[in-house]
Symmetry: none
Subunit: 201 residues, 4 copies
DNA sequence: GATGAATGAGAATTCATTCAT
DNA sequence: GATGAATGAATTCTCATTCAT
């Protein structure tokens, strides 16, 4: 099917008409998912937002889920790259840890609508649920590998707990449940992670 | 409307016919929500599971959401009581903290299906979203009040982060994303909380 | 079935319990028909207004229509008696004509709710439609018999037209489409009828 | 929404597919309302009569009432134009009056089904009730303006009474309560109106 | 006589998806 | 490539009527 990049917009209208239509649909869907949520979003809303027609929608995507998959996979790729880039030294290099958390936060902010919709899918327990679980696991494993010897702490659970905390805090921020200044949150989060992992204290 | 108690289950069939039917619907809905999720659950599924009719359903609940509200409010009450019972001394009295975490975990396990559906509603951003946010805030405030002086840690964020961690970990356990033995998880979680809050170290 | 008078209330509680319940249902139905209309009135509304139960309703009436029939027949009887009492001399005895019109107006006012519901049934074209048409015809024939020789006017149509006018004007008054003082309306209506029929002018 | 003209019928199939479908629905609804009445008519009946589907119905109309509104407004426009065209000289120019009554009768005949349904709506007291009352008032005012000085007759009531008579007589004819030859009815009606208004007699 | 819980056949409405143009 | 009218299965909700107590 149509697998050209849908959002890499730097080719200023050079893409074929089809590619542009597809991209317009993806962008529109992002907006609609953000406003209505995944389940409540109607194909009708999406094609209206994209100023195109039902027929066109099905020209590019087999159904709503398939469109969402295209969106989600982009974000997943970004998050996986992020997981792999977790600094080797978490405690020793606070600056690197903070920078990494900043990247993560940016990603959450940029892809907020998709991530929120994803959380919804996750609850439904379908394909995206699994994708989400995999991502979590990947984050957990990346963290686990960098974890210093922790006197008495179960490393697996610690990793999971940290991921949960980081991920949820970003999610709350995204959903508007908490409203913290970006730098305050980053400082504090860095503190918390370091505090938990620094066995020298 | 018919608002008799639906769960006071210890009266073995003594309740009036109506009360029993209502309770049957609540139980059936719990099962269906667990299996299908809140959004995907059909009134049809619920009445089939309760071995009753559509008409009867609407005799007791205005719609699916209202039924879920009845379910959710029970759980909310329990969780709020729990928030209020958080031990005064978190670091000094490990045993009390662990016991409290155990209670929380039990609640999560007992009301798993409802909580999972709740998370779903939360994403949709409707009334339960707010109820959930309130609950979170309550947990956060309770924790904040018990927090020892933390050298350099932002207390508010620490509280939120801890709640996020505890809550999510329980949720993961519930959703099957992680599978940890109950006592291992409790020990580890206690460790993590104490470690974060213990300023004597 | 139960054919005792339902509204002749002067026997102060002497009626059997059943008769009282039946009367309560009839009164309640009158109120509900007035508020909601015939079609929109629910058995539920009626039994609520009568402070009784669904089961009881069907103890006394086979269905909603049957109850309405009981109500309508009382009014029909009154209107038929009225038709038969039309004064012999319409033009010569203005006072008698005015008195008769006053009786008709009173009847409309007293049985307003039922008559309004009746008009509704009439449109639906069911049994009451026929009953209503019969009544109209009876009024028309009564009028026709008293009509003086009218130079050049078709007597049948004149009678029908007069009935239509009288009936409609009362209906408008009832429905609130026009709001005229009772005596003004009676005087004017008397004038109009006399003017139309007085061939001496 | 789809608001293209639905009745401009002289373009024999030139209209777009949508416009034709919409027109088919309107025609079908007219038939169904005539047969079953407004309240009893089912969307199902209408789409069956129009040989289309439920989905299509809701593509063009929000619901049954909205469809009826479209129908009723056409007729209302015609009746309002008629009210405005009432001849200036009612008594002096019998021929003009008769012609006007003929037009009114034709309108009633042409739009019979809609008018009958309208009467039903009027009883229910909803939006069409008001529209109908307005129309009546308009007829009344038009008549009032043309009314000659009437020795002793209340002009307002006379106008209302005449409108009631004319309107009802046409309605009876339509509903089949009376069955008069068209020219006989027109002659008689003209006679009655002139007789009532002619002060020279 | 009276009750009110239970029923289930309908009715309205929505929305993903198809397909002729 | 694009369109948008048409579809109909799926779903929610209502309400007259029955019936066990």
């Amino acid at each position: 099917m149509h697998e050209r990049s849908a959002t890499g917009g730097a080719d200023g209208g050079r893409r074929s008409r089809g590619a542009r239509t597809r991209a317009r649909l993806l962008q529109a869907a992002t907006r609609v998912f953000a406003e209505r949520g995944l389940e409540a979003a109607r194909v009708d809303d999406i094609v209206a937002a994209a100023r195109t027609s039902h027929g066109t929608f099905y020209l590019y995507f087999g159904n709503k889920e398939e469109l969402f998959a295209a969106l989600a996979e982009e974000v997943a790729a970004e998050l996986q790259a992020l997981a792999d880039d977790l600094p080797e030294q978490l405690v020793e290099d606070r600056a690197a840890l903070r920078a990494w958390l900043a990247r993560l936060t940016s990603t959450y902010r940029t892809h907020g609508p998709v991530l929120r919709a994803w959380t919804e899918a996750e609850v439904h327990g379908d394909a995206f649920g699994r994708l989400g679980t995999d991502l979590h696991a990947r984050f957990g494993r990346a963290l686990l590998r960098r974890l210093p010897r922790l006197d008495g702490l179960d490393p697996q659970l610690t990793a999971v707990a940290l991921v949960a905390m980081i991920e949820r805090l970003n999610y709350y921020q995204l959903a508007g449940h908490v409203r913290l200044r970006r730098d305050v949150m980053l400082d504090a989060l860095t503190d918390v992670v370091v505090r938990m992992l620094d066995s020298r204290r």
